[in-house]
Amino acid sequence: MAIENINGCIGCGICVQTCPTDVIRLDPKTKKAIIKYPADCQICHLCRMYCPVDAISITPEKSIPVIVSWG
């Protein structure tokens, strides 16, 4: 996992806008940020640096879900 977790999100949506690769979205029900497309994370930390409440923690490892052959 690249973005490890989002803890204490206030739902401002800045991380959603900030992510160059569109990894984060606001959950339509909870209105909080969720890691929607983790495979596309380039581990650049912009979301973490822009988060106004330091809610995002990131690890340097990345595992991409196995993609089915020919899929």
């Binding site: 690249a2 806008q17 992510c19 569109d22 380039q42 581990i43 912009l46 640096m49």
Partner: protein, 596 residues
């Protein structure tokens, strides 16, 4: 295009036939059997709202070039509108660029002409000296404007970029993916795209368009370019613009450990406030390091003189002695009087201790290929016809990494000039586009054209089955990223890779599927990467010599008789990819080129 589309339809029919037809596929999905190719659609493509916007100057891209393009177009009296795939100052490579060059005539150790000549020597003539000089000449003025906006006060650029945009009330649309440029009657007429957040399709009618869309790569691991897929270049190519510079390679290494972690590879540099640096001309980031890694096996060694250079090898890319960090200090390629020219001052070390200042390859074990698919900054993109960043299509401009200005040449020369060049060219293009718009009419785009664009844009959402963009991208990466394809080149491997890429182009790209707007973006990015791969391979096959960041194992020498020329790429009326040579340091309208 017609040919390709016909082929696509054939491929699709064949595919559906093989898979048991549409009914069979739908049945599989409805039975709950994981149909691997079924498109589990999450939005209704028929329900997308349609919006039209009109402006004088449409700026596409929200990085350093886009910022200045929008501001200067506005200040020159035009109605400007900015649209970006990401957020202002937070997408592309701009957020990660921490050094900006400024040529200060009151303190510089050399004149503008000496500086330009030094860059030309390092670039082995491959630079456009008009753009080299222009960058230096205007750099200080742009740096001073950035200072006023607070650019140097924060590691994050959104706030300082927003200041001049908000002060001028320039409309800004973020997270809009532009998929097509629109041309009517031989001139630019606008662009089309869709929103990532709202189910909306946008048609922009514009008198002029400035592409500030950056360059791109193949979404390689370890370099922050994974949102850059040459979108602007390929969109412009598709409407007939000439593009250039596809055979050159950025040679940045990445880390062997946690290879995907851009932030960690740059050792915290992204947290640093930007800083200004003076003249320091290099011949860097070519394939010399990657050639050593290829020959000796990994790791890649990089860094200042003396850092891991104990084991130099013979052969490999030619580096002018004047700029060779590994050879003795005696210049062989200097000016005629034999005096070593000033290479410049040492740059100020940016940031405070502990803030991080080591780029990739300095510290830890490094491996090559982290920026695979990217050329040298400013050396790929649209062919300019003059020093105003104007492309071969009237009304279409490009600036920064989207413009093949050859400002630096086919190798990295001046430190910090990438960011400075984007600022300078953005401003030049903004002013030029504003002047062009004064005498241009608001374009009329036919309803039939808009309908066709919309259908093409949204087609992947309509597919009941097909290939996921993630799989096709991974397949493309497997073909293009190995060091024996783009870094250490030879004809047999380039042709082999091309056969694979043509297969993806003809058979897989037409069947890319998207379940939502995120995937729709990935589909368009994947198509752009496939087109880029074809250009890179074909241009690399054509250039039968080695120069700067293009290294051919089968043609290791410079060929000054035949190859003091750039390679332009364009689409002919039948939709075929064509190539021509344009003499170094010339303009297209000087006719110093011929078909190859």
């Amino acid at each position: 295009m017609t040919n390709v589309n016909t082929k696509n339809e054939m491929s699709r029919r064949k595919f559906m036939g093989l898979a048991g037809g549409a009914i069979g596929m739908a049945t599989l999905a409805s039975m709950g059997i994981p149909g691997w190719a079924a498109n589990k659609i999450k939005i209704d493509p028929e329900s997308l709202e349609y919006l039209e916007k009109e402006t004088d100057v449409l700026v596409i891209g929200g990085g350093m070039a886009g910022l200045f393009a929008a501001v200067k177009a506005h200040d020159a009296g035009a109605k400007a509108l900015m649209v970006s795939k990401g957020r202002l100052g937070s997408s592309g490579q701009t957020p990660f660029a921490k050094g900006i060059f400024a040529y200060d005539p009151s303190t510089a150790a050399m004149t503008l002409d000496e500086f330009t000549a030094t860059v030309s020597r390092s670039a082995l003539g491959s630079n456009n000296s008009v753009y080299t000089k222009q960058m230096a000449e205007h750099s200080l003025a742009r740096v001073n404007e950035l200072k006023d906006w607070g650019f140097f006060d924060s590691a994050l650029y959104n706030k300082s970029f927003s200041k001049p945009i908000n002060e001028r009330n320039i409309p800004l649309l973020e997270r809009i993916v532009i998929t097509n440029l629109i041309k009517e009657n031989g001139k630019i007429a606008g662009a089309a795209g869709f929103s990532l957040d709202e189910e909306k399709v946008y048609i922009f009618k514009a008198k002029s368009v400035i592409l500030c869309t950056g360059a791109g790569g193949f979404k390689p691991n370890g370099f922050p370019i994974c949102d850059l897929t040459h979108d602007g270049t390929i969109m412009a190519y598709n409407i007939g613009a000439k593009v250039t510079g596809k055979e050159w390679n950025d040679g940045h290494p990445g880390q062997a450990t946690n290879a995907a972690a851009c932030y960690d590879g740059w050792h915290g540099m992204f947290e640093r406030k930007p800083s200004v640096n003076g003249i320091e001309v290099h011949h860097d980031l070519g394939v010399d390091l990657n050639y050593m890694a290829y020959t000796n096996g990994n790791p890649v060694q990089m860094g200042p003189p003396g850092a891991g250079e104990s084991n130099p090898i013979s052969g490999g890319p030619y580096i002018p002695a004047e700029f060779n960090r590994m050879s003795s200090d005696k210049p062989k390629d200097g000016p005629e009087d034999g005096k070593k020219p000033p290479r410049g001052e040492r740059p100020e070390k940016g940031g405070k201790p502990g803030e991080g200042d080591a780029p990739p390859g300095m510290g830890g074990t490094s491996v090559g290929g982290s920026s695979a698919g990217m050329s040298i900054h400013k050396s790929e993109g649209l062919v300019p016809i003059n020093d105003k960043c104007e492309s071969t299509i009237p009304g279409l401009y490009a600036a920064g990494d989207a413009l093949g200005s050859y400002m630096a040449g086919a190798i990295y020369t001046q430190i910090g000039s990438s960011l400075a060049g984007s600022a300078v060219q953005g401003a030049i293009a903004g002013e030029a586009a504003a002047v062009y718009s004064e005498s241009a009419n608001t374009p009329v785009i036919s309803k039939a054209k808009i309908k066709a664009l919309q259908e093409e844009m949204l087609a992947p959402l309509h597919r009941e089955a097909g290939y996921s963009p993630a799989w096709v991208t991974q397949t493309l990466q497997g073909i293009m990223i190995p060091n024996f394809v783009l870094y250490v080149k030879k004809e047999s491997m380039l042709k082999a890779a091309l056969a694979y890429v043509e297969e993806l182009r003809d058979h897989h790209a037409p069947m890319l599927r998207a379940a939502d707007l995120h995937e729709l973006r990935l589909v368009h990015e994947t198509k752009n990467m496939i087109a880029t791969a074809e250009m890179k391979l074909k241009a690399s096959i054509l250039r039968k010599e080695s120069r700067c960041s293009h290294y051919r194992l089968d043609y290791p020498e410079l060929d000054n008789e035949n190859w003091q020329a750039w390679i332009n790429i364009f689409k002919d009326e039948e939709g075929n990819m064509q190539f021509e040579k344009q003499a170094f340091n010339s303009w297209p309208n000087e006719n110093l080129f011929h078909q190859i």
